[in-house]
């Protein structure tokens, strides 16, 4: 076990693992105090009390979507990550024959600074690019570029469905960026799979483009490329291992690490993050717009998609791009957007799988009035992802009311048992 930014990491990934047979998070029974915080935040019921002492356990990978909300909310740091690819990344960075490629997600840059004492929410994209180059990444590409490409693909797909919905491609269309949500549909609502956009997530697209288009543009042998997905998310480790994501002829994503693991690497390399000067990503697969960066938050994919859909459907320029009606802190938000020459575009945005369930049931019953629905598993979106820097107020110290409350819950649970 290794401590990376206050989260215990069990070890390196075994070769050729089947991600479906694997729990990406698990409970350390020695640290679990049976307080039940994880029960509350887990919306699938994958984590449950086991045995007499009520200690929690992820029962079976089939029910877990790997979101890691249990981990980031555990007051005792009792939940650990099963696999870390950090060793593999360091090894690749040392190998002169390997071209290591960075692919950081939008949300990473809004939390990474917290590991270095910067205020929450500080945009550290420029410093992050500089740090990646210092670490030895040869091609600093950025997943924000493919967030823009996702809008082109997923947005165009939506317009096609609106024009001509079919059995195989019905309305409403669901977003497919969030790997926890995608696994949730596959496991709990398989009948809604046709509603999921067929567009890969931005990282699915970047891996595939890196080893084809990117290799051509930079005259790099794709066989020598090692693509590192850097995510605010544990479920992205699962996504990166999906066997079908090998469109380039290679593994599109070689490994996935989290915001915490990147912070750990920067510290381990002795880089003074705060004093780094801002640098841009390498443009071919790195340039991005504001529409891409808002993928980091609940409502962002929807807003970015509407900035495209409005212009295509109406033929007019969208003057005010701030579509505040779809910005969602948490819960469910619905909106009806008036598009000239088309009519109303009905949309819904939800974060948290309990909210997603409500929208899924509506679609299943054939009662959904929406054209497009954005779902993110983590409340508030990827900025609050399971791979992000921990909220310092979550872990109990030597004192504090969390510990008192957890103690009381524990005693009550024991009493109820007796």
């Amino acid at each position: 076990m290794q401590d990376m930014e206050k989260v215990m990491m069990k070890g390196s990934a075994p070769k050729n693992i089947d991600p479906t047979k694997f729990s990406f998070v698990q409970v350390d029974a020695a640290k679990c105090q049976a307080c039940g915080t994880c029960d509350d935040v887990c919306k699938t019921g994958a984590i449950q009390a086991v045995g007499k002492d009520e200690k929690r356990k992820v029962l079976d990978p089939a029910a877990c979507v790997n979101c890691g909300q249990c981990l980031v909310n555990c007051p005792y740091g009792a939940i650990y990550e099963e696999i870390s690819f950090v060793d593999e990344v360091f090894k690749a960075l040392k190998d002169p024959n390997t071209v290591v490629v960075s692919m950081p997600a939008p949300a990473v840059r809004y939390a990474l600074g917290e590991a270095f004492g910067l205020p929450a929410g500080t945009h550290v994209g420029g410093k992050m690019h500089a740090a990646l180059r210092k670490l030895g990444f040869k091609l600093v590409w950025d997943n924000e570029f493919t967030a823009d490409v996702t809008i082109m693909e997923e947005g165009t797909e939506l317009l096609n469905r609106v024009k001509k919905p079919s059995h195989g491609a019905p309305l409403p269309q669901f977003t497919s960026c969030c790997p926890g949500w995608v696994k949730f549909v596959e496991a709990f609502y398989p009948e809604l799979i046709p509603n999921l956009s067929s567009a890969k997530s931005p990282i699915g697209m970047l891996g595939a483009l890196a080893k084809t288009y990117g290799a051509k543009q930079t005259k790099t042998d794709p066989a020598k490329m090692f693509t590192v997905s850097i995510m605010p998310c544990i479920a992205k480790k699962y996504e990166g291992l999906r066997p079908e994501l090998a469109a380039s002829g290679y593994r599109d994503t070689d490994v996935t690490i989290t915001t915490r693991e990147l912070a750990y690497m920067i510290k381990k390399a002795g880089i003074d993050f705060k004093s780094l000067k801002d640098e841009a990503a390498d443009p071919i697969l790195g340039e991005a717009t504001g529409a891409a960066t808002i993928f980091a938050t609940s409502g962002g994919v929807m807003e970015a998609a509407l900035r495209l859909a409005y212009e295509v459907l109406s033929g007019d320029k969208l003057k005010d791009v701030d579509l505040k009606g779809v910005r969602a802190h948490e819960g469910i938000k619905t909106a009806s957007v008036d598009v000239p020459k088309f009519g109303k575009v009905n949309v819904a945005v939800a974060s948290g799988l309990d909210n997603a369930k409500k929208l899924c049931d509506e679609v299943k019953a054939g009662k959904s009035p929406h054209h497009f629905i954005e779902i993110m598993t983590c409340p508030g979106g990827c900025v609050n992802g399971g791979g992000q820097i921990l909220n310092p107020s979550v872990l109990v110290g030597d004192s504090g009311c969390r510990k008192v409350f957890a103690e009381i819950n524990k005693r009550l649970a024991m009493k109820a048992q007796a």
Binding site: G155, S198, K200, G204, H329, N384, S393, F405, N409
Partner: protein, 118 residues
């Protein structure tokens, strides 16, 4: 934000759902619970606020619509890598995927009598 913010909204929710003994404890620290609730919302809100500020900052992002990204335009240009456009043939091969029915594992758990929430 004060120092005693190490209990969060979830603690509060948990308390609301448990026994009267716990409610009595909560009653002694109402201010504390309120602040804690604000503290947790705060971290997510701060990050979200950072996101929207960056979106609106032309020094960070020159354009605000994906279709105006010059590198996206280059990718889909008539002589570009994806010259048949979004959802075109090549885009389908590289940028689209398919999904799998994974409900068997969930059904098996339920058949064993394990209660799941979905």
């Amino acid at each position: 934000m004060s120092e005693n913010t190490d209990c969060t909204r979830r603690d509060f929710l948990k308390l609301a759902g448990t026994a009267a003994a716990v409610a009595a404890v909560a009653a002694t620290v109402p201010g504390m619970v309120g602040e804690a609730q604000a503290a947790e919302l705060d971290l997510v809100t701060k990050r979200q606020t950072g996101v929207y500020a960056a979106d609106a900052n032309p020094k960070l992002y020159k354009a605000r619509k994906s279709q105006e990204n010059p590198m996206v335009q280059k990718l889909y240009a008539k002589d570009g890598f994806l010259h048949d456009g979004p959802t075109g043939h090549k885009a389908h091969l590289l940028l689209h995927t398919h999904y799998f029915d994974r409900s068997a594992g969930v059904k098996a758990l339920k058949a064993k009598g394990i209660k799941l929430k979905a």
